[in-house]
């Protein structure tokens, strides 16, 4: 009984220490500097389009509509939308520099969530959700107590007496860290539930999509299923382990470094820019004061002293209270934005000819597009056809064009879903395209690939051959290969005709 009570109290203490331990909020301050900046980048891109995306003079499609709940949020008129949007931008900029930090982040976060919810098609994404969580938690955190205008003003009030950074309870920072654990765990669950994720097909189709920014590395790797297969397993294992191991002092850095590599990978392979930027700036919440001191020592050893930059800080007299200055600046920013938007005249209404005309289309092309009902070509049901000799995870792992006697040729066709149940043949032909033999198999509708295996024995003479993939009487693809060396049968008796 006593031991159980002791265990309970020890668990309570551990949890209490975990959330309420006091630390200098350096990680939170770094996150405050970088995260709003990353969250702002896509929003700044949308600034000239506020009228179109978020106002009653445009086409906002609220997230609530996508979920079938109708228009829940009030839709502002264009002027009000621009004022609110500029206020959001101003507040997030103030959050970055730490000016009226909590107020700025509070207003900025509320408006950021509002505008994301207002456009479920072209603004709201999962990086917006992660950024919303982090911004909310930053608002609650003491992130403005370090490296901020607020702190500078505080020091000025205290006649520039350098104050030793105060420590604060870390609960809001812990929640930011826990958020990542939940995100990765949830992402792993999604992948586990996604058909064809572990065989790489899903990843391949994503890499070949042009929905994000350019991803030449992804396009290259999309054709190498073994890489996708291995990376799929590694990703899921890392995502599940993250929430358990990142708290370990020794494993913290390796887990975060792996995460950084993973996110940089999504940039290279999938063409995602903002998602990794948001996540990596969120990672800064894992930074501790020891990490910062270590970096400082390293910089000092190379003669770099960031602290000296403060010497160049402006010596502005405390004439007007910071809050009043903030409000005036916010107002000026909003008025300036409304004026800029008016002058920008997105729809060209104030031009000489009024609204712009829409472009006429070639009649023949228009009719062909409207009436188009071309049946799916047999070859378009297939993604690729390759030959090689090694399989990994049930998939062709290499590609070869030269084989020798005794080798196994694996011919693999990949199919694009959806397709019906199909009878697919693989035909071996000689250099003159004469059929030597063939084999077929049923590929049912749920299958994404089929394999044909051929043992290169003594029946063939050395030379050039091709494997031909056929379906529904059509040649889909042809792969040439060369058989080299001497037939084993020839070693025994060269007079025997072996085919």
């Amino acid at each position: 009984m006593n031991r159980s009570r002791q265990n309970d109290s020890s668990l309570r203490e551990t949890i209490s220490d975990f959330f309420f331990e006091e630390q200098v909020p350096m990680g939170a301050a770094l996150t405050r500097i970088f995260l709003p900046l990353m969250a702002l980048l896509p929003m700044l891109m949308r600034f000239p389009r506020v009228r179109e995306l978020y106002s009653s003079d445009g086409t906002p499609v609220q997230m609530f509509e996508l979920f079938g709940n109708g228009e829940v949020l009030p839709i502002p008129g264009p002027g009000a939308a621009v004022i609110l949007y500029s206020l959001m931008v101003f507040c997030l900029l103030c959050g970055i520099v730490g000016w009226k930090t909590r107020l700025s982040l509070g207003i900025g976060t509320a408006l950021y969530v509002y505008f994301n919810l207002m456009d479920g098609i072209g603004t709201m994404t999962k990086y917006s959700v992660i950024a919303s969580h982090l911004l909310m938690l930053l608002t609650l955190s003491p992130c403005g107590r370090m490296w901020s205008v607020d702190e500078w003003l505080r020091q000025r009030r205290n006649q520039n007496v350098s104050i030793v950074p105060r420590a604060f309870p870390v609960w809001s920072i812990r929640l930011m860290q826990l958020l990542f654990a939940y995100v990765y765990f949830g992402a792993a669950l999604t992948k586990i539930q996604t058909d064809a994720f572990f065989s790489g097909e899903q990843m391949r189709y994503w890499m070949l999509s042009n929905w994000n920014y350019e991803n030449p590395v992804g396009e290259f790797l999309a054709m190498w299923p073994p890489v996708l297969l291995v990376s799929a397993y590694l990703t899921v294992v890392w995502e599940i382990l993250f929430g358990f191991l990142v708290w370990n002092r020794r494993l913290r850095l390796p887990m975060l470094a792996t995460g950084a590599v993973f996110h940089l990978g999504t940039w290279l392979l999938l063409g995602l820019y903002i998602f990794p930027a948001v996540c990596l700036s969120g990672y800064l919440c894992f930074v501790t004061s020891e990490d910062v001191f270590r970096v400082r020592r390293w910089m000092k050893s190379r003669g770099l002293r960031l602290a000296e930059l403060w010497k160049f800080g402006p010596r502005i007299p405390a004439a007007i209270p910071s809050g009043v200055t903030w409000a005036i600046a916010a107002g000026l920013f909003a008025v300036g934005s409304v004026e800029a938007e008016y002058r920008f005249d997105l729809y060209g209404v104030r031009g000489e000819s009024g609204f712009m005309p829409i472009e006429e289309m070639d009649r023949e092309r228009a009719v062909s597009l409207i009436a188009g009902a071309t049946p799916l070509r047999e070859k378009d049901k297939f993604f690729s056809f390759q030959i090689g000799s090694t399989a990994l995870g049930g998939q062709l792992a290499n590609r070869r064009e030269v084989f020798k006697y005794g080798d196994i040729v694996i011919a693999e066709c990949n199919l694009n879903p959806p397709h019906e149940d199909m009878w697919v043949e693989c035909v071996l032909e000689d250099a003159d395209e004469h059929k030597i033999n063939s084999v077929g198999q049923v590929i049912t509708r749920e299958m994404l690939r089929g394999q044909f295996t051929l043992l290169l024995g003594s029946q063939l003479s050395s030379g050039r051959y091709s494997m031909v993939l056929r379906s529904a009487g059509h040649e889909i693809s042809r792969r040439w290969f060369t058989l080299t060396g001497q037939s084993p049968a020839c070693d025994v008796d060269t007079d025997v005709f072996g085919n």
Partner: protein, 218 residues
């Protein structure tokens, strides 16, 4: 930190972690998420699946004089995440009606009778750049696009005729490629009345029929 502050913070921590846990459990067990917009904030389905075919949407307006117009923003499309216009990310057609209405009320044109929503689709292997195509396929690239009339709208953007989307049509085609199934479906009789009740949101704006997965724009 005061004891009261600790209690308030503790309450917030408990609620926040409970909400995050609900998202994980709801997503894993598929409950409580349908129709729940706020669940989007706690479900981490960044990898919800991708189709084998790339798709684009074209809007073609037909005027009362029989001329055709390429209906797109003359002031320039907004590209939210890359080089594609915003309408291309509207996979389920939630925005189409509003978009058509918006374009027609903000542009100069003769009276419009109908607007055709045409889908274009092609297999994704054709997205490979030329260099990689040659290296991986070794044949001439003969890409064709499949066009499919998804919906017909009137001059206000309201849907007057709706067809299954192209992907859904391919799924139906592949299922229908079964003589026994076709025969049994033809023999069967359905009773109507209580099986499907359209709601305001399913019958008005959205063109929601596809069973295929949507691209995630994360």
């Amino acid at each position: 930190m005061s004891q009261t502050g600790k209690w308030i913070a503790g309450l917030f921590i408990g609620c926040y972690l409970a909400v995050l846990s609900f998202g994980i459990a709801g997503h894993a067990l598929k409950f409580g998420l349908a129709g729940n917009t706020l669940s989007y904030f706690v479900v981490w389905d960044m990898f919800c699946g991708w189709q084998a075919y790339d798709q684009r949407t074209h809007l073609i307006a037909e005027s009362v004089s029989g001329r055709y117009y390429d209906l797109r923003e003359p002031w320039g499309e907004f590209h939210p995440y890359g080089s594609l216009g915003r309408i291309q990310y509207d996979v389920f057609g939630h925005m189409v009606s509003k978009h058509i209405n918006h374009l027609l009320t903000h542009t100069q044109h003769e009276p419009i009778d109908s607007v055709y929503v045409v889908e274009e689709a092609w297999p994704k292997q054709y997205n490979l750049p030329e260099r990689l195509w040659k290296r991986n396929f070794g044949t001439k690239r003969d890409k064709i696009s499949y066009y499919h009339l998804r919906a017909t709208c009137n001059g206000d953007g309201n849907v007057v005729n709706l067809n299954p989307d192209w992907m859904n049509q391919q799924v139906l085609n592949s299922i229908a490629d079964n003589p026994r199934l076709r025969h049994e479906v033809n023999q069967a009789h359905s009773s109507f009345g209580m099986w499907y009740v359209p709601t305001a949101h399913t019958s008005r704006h959205g063109l929601r029929q596809s069973t295929a997965v949507a691209p995630s724009t994360n």
